[in-house]
Point group: C2
Chain length 125, copies 2
């Protein structure tokens, strides 16, 4: 039985909430064992079962205060979710587009994220 759109949206929401709560284990548990992470796109791929943990550690070493915020509608098509995201770090914002693929249990099997550190800008408003 494929994951429902509701299950997929719930996983996306948990991805952001657990990241922002500093919950490394809970966040990594959102990934399927055979996941592939390409974030930002073009960087070396990180693969399961330990890719997500490595991704977390790499990012928290560089930007321990980073927070995420979903910045527009989450579109779900079949087993994929596509949505805009903000990385909020050190007083600046980086705009991101995420495409995630999910398994039947709504665990993240693939994460691709388009963003550039060079595009960081002050928060709106």
């Amino acid at each position: 039985v494929p994951a429902t759109p509701e299950d997929i949206r719930s996983s996306v929401t948990s991805y952001v909430e657990r990241f922002n709560a500093g919950d490394r284990e809970g966040w990594a548990a959102l990934f399927a064992p055979d996941h592939v992470i390409d974030d930002p796109v073009g960087s070396p791929l990180l693969q399961g079962p330990d890719g997500a943990g490595t991704f977390w550690d790499n990012n928290h070493a560089i930007a321990p205060d980073a927070k995420l915020a979903i910045s527009g509608p989450i579109v779900v098509v079949a087993d994929e979710a596509a949505f805009p995201l903000e990385i909020q770090v050190s007083g600046v914002v980086i705009d991101v587009i995420d495409i995630m693929g999910f398994d039947d249990q709504a665990r993240i099997r693939s994460l691709r994220a388009w963003w550039n550190l060079a595009d960081a800008h002050p928060p709106a408003g």
Copy 2:
């Protein structure tokens, strides 16, 4: 020489402007001869050189009054652009995430778009 981020952003803007102007030929000319269109993702692929024209005709047969609006930041990474878009049609809005790949002349080589007709909703505000 790869296309610059400015060239790629200009192509994205033209894509929306020419679509909304009803300029079928100008819009189709934004695509490279060897393009591949997967819009919405999971539908039968349309390929160059005539895929874009077929895509235009198919969509205008179904929704001749559809307009597009970019609804968030355009992220450019290497030869790709990623951005949120709205399809505005018959008084409703459909949320879209587009990922486009470009050739050295900033012509569209690939278009993937995530959206569902079933997710149409009234305009905000």
